[in-house]
């Protein structure tokens, strides 16, 4: 089985579990059962319970849904922004490219998590604001890539030949540049999904993402870490593995597609 196919299957499994898991496993993630606090996995609680006695599996599925509902739209937003910015710099006149790239350099000098943390401390945190925040902060890498690829294609002989045959700049951008750059775009869109899932999980882990009572994979890990002295491995491993699976899926798919 090729890397790309393995990645896509894994990714599909994660997305299905996250988005549709709550329909199959009906337990209420927010129901508190103090009598059953911190139980190891059993027939009754397949993934144990947390310190409040909430069902681990139900929490995991709810957390997945919350994570995906924010990070997937954010990835789309980042993709569109990065693509537009990169194309503008790559196809625009030289001075515009210089200005845009210089700005991008500065933005890229700031680690995205740092900028995220900064803005997360300013704006009210909810699904919509997090989508906007993640979307508008995750695009610079893609923008630079699109710009570099586009610049590298510019002035290639086949574009000169098309221009000689009477093609205008928009025709060349649409037919020649986009077609040649498309495979790179697909690969990096995949990586972008991984990036936003990671960023959201990291923010939530730091308490600056989705706010309680909403749970996410990142916040589940954080609350498990708070009571790590009690060694609740069943609260740490499942959310960690889910994030790992999502990132692995993105990275496998991207790498596999890159080799084509």
């Amino acid at each position: 089985m090729s890397e790309a196919r393995a990645g896509m299957l894994l990714g599909a499994a994660v997305v299905l579990a996250g988005l549709f898991g709550p329909w199959v496993y009906h337990a209420d993630p927010y129901a508190i059962h103090p009598a059953y606090a911190l139980q190891a996995p059993s027939r009754h609680f397949p993934l144990g319970t947390d310190e409040l006695g909430r069902d681990g599996l139900a929490l995991l599925l709810a957390g997945g849904k919350a994570t995906l509902v924010v990070s997937l739209p954010a990835a789309v937003l980042a993709f569109v922004t990065g693509l537009a910015y990169g194309l503008l710099a790559g196809l625009g006149p030289g001075w515009l490219d210089k200005v845009l790239m210089r700005l991008l350099d500065v933005v890229l000098a700031l680690p995205s998590l740092v900028v995220l943390i900064f803005f997360a401390s300013i704006v009210p945190l909810n699904n919509a604001s997090l989508v906007l925040l993640l979307g508008f902060i995750s695009w610079p890498g893609l923008a630079r890539l699109v710009r570099n690829e586009t610049r590298a294609q510019r002035g290639r002989d086949f574009m000169l030949a098309a221009r000689q045959a009477g093609a205008g700049p928009f025709y060349i951008a649409r037919v020649h540049v986009l077609r040649v750059v498309a495979p790179v775009l697909v690969v990096n869109a995949t990586f972008l999904v991984g990036d936003t899932i990671f960023a959201l999980s990291a923010l939530s882990f730091l308490g600056l993402g989705l706010q309680p009572p909403q749970v996410s994979w990142g916040s589940l890990l954080q609350s498990a870490l708070d009571i790590i002295a009690l060694a609740p491995w069943w609260l740490i491993v499942p959310p960690g593995l889910m994030i790992f699976a999502a990132l692995l899926a993105a990275s496998l798919t991207g790498r596999g597609l890159l080799r084509r």
Binding site: D157, F158, L160, A161, Q164, A165, G166, A167, G168, Y171
Partner: protein, 583 residues
Amino acid sequence: MKPVLEIRDLTVTLKRGGRDVPVLEHFNLSIVPGEMVALVGESGSGKTVAALSVLRLLPLGAKISGEIFLDGENIAQAGEARLRQLRGSVAGMVFQDPLAALNPSRTVASQIGEAWRVHKGGSVLAAREKAVELLGEVGIPDAAARADDFPHQFSGGMRQRVMIAMALACSPKLLIADEPTTGLDPVIARQILQLLARLRRELNLAVLFVTHDLSVVAEHADAVHVLYAGRSVEWGGAKTFFAQPRHPYSAALRGAVAWLGQARLAEIPGQLPEPEARPPGCRFAPRCDYAQADCAVEYPAPVERGTTAACLYPLRNAERAGSAGVEKVVQKFAPLLEVDGLALRFGKGLPVLENLSLVIGQGECLGIVGESGSGKSSLGKAVLQMLPYAGHVLLGGQDLGGLRGAKLRAARRRMQVVFQDPRESLNPRMKIGEIIAEPLHLAGVAKPEAMRRVKALLADVGLSAALMPVYPGSVSGGQAQRVAIARALAAEPELLVLDEPTSSLDVSTQALLLNLLRGIGAKRGLSCLLISHDFAVVSYLADRIAVLRGGRVIEVNETAALLANPREAYTKALIEAAPRLQS
């Protein structure tokens, strides 16, 4: 005399997609001291594999059988430690593309010194002295001062001299040169050949010279050995060979080279078979005009008649292989393109073109010859309105200088271009049919009509309509270049700019393409601006030739007159560097 190198019945297989594929079979060769043997073949012939196996430098997964006697010792099965002792000391090697073959981050002296120290030991300082001495010997001016420079600080020719100095560091008895002049300007290539000839004389060095280009070795080689699809087809003394090749393939190869002043080029139809799909019997038989039914039965035994040829029906005297080319007709022309006082520079750099004026007549082919850096490609791009310039370019009396927008696009359409590298000039993600239809599509030709014309154009350039849904990545270089020509013709231009249209192609493909261009030019009454570093190619196609140097035209004349009577010393040097047959 005892041979320095003797190869007996060598067969080499390489790993390809998990299988062992034979790339060289039953190969025999011997070289005595002071002899230069030319190993000639087109790409895929196995010539480089033959050269690499002498020092056992083959890629991982290669298997060899047979015997390789290097200075009397059979190294075919020698261990890695012994091979290391022999490499560089008994035989040195020079590769194509010296910029890639030298380590970019070490000085040339340290790289040459390393070759010396590996075998002779000694201090770094002594090695540097040796390196300086060697650099002087291969003709690097001011060797002591240049020794600590890095490879990128040398010109192409000088870099190849550095490679030669490195190969000679431990005074080997044999020098293996793998395409040492490919990619160099003809004048520089000729200097490298002269250097090799001198070293061979002075050091009594045996030279194995590997090349795809017969013309390179015509002057200096003692013996010629021609490979085709992994088998030797003909070998023997160079004089005898060039006077009358016996094997139809080598004869066709000789005829396909654009020798200076040649009236017609021979063509070799068809393509080299893939190593996995080689025909039984004579490998050239499917492409051979002289092939009979029994040629396909088993590989022919070599027959000696002057040279030795592995052919059942070797050519007799005065027979020429390959079908005839197209004759050139000389005529007078009314002006189509006028270039007046053209000047061009990049940024604040030195001027690329200065006050350059030219005229191309209706239906005329004007050749532009010059070395790299002479500004010839920039001239083409300026004419095509791809680069900003000062001065005037008039097409059919209309000044193209101030045009903008739709008018500029319309003007551009009247001039089409064929670039050097068809891989670069065809969008890898568009089908061949789409590529040729693009100019039609842009001109607003309806789809069914466009499809009909694409088919006609494909036929015009000698390609099948079955290629329409194919991507350019899966056709050969020659076919791709035909597609590029078809696309250029689709716009129905008045002027065709050909920028080194054949220099990335094999000799036999080049001949086909030159004949095609000649035919198209004659049939359509098309004007051509042909840009090339190769005087022979230009003289084959052009009615007139302009010689470009340092951004200026230093000489223009009718082709025959220029060849017979060059005015400038530089023109003379270019003509002398062009391949020619001794009569």
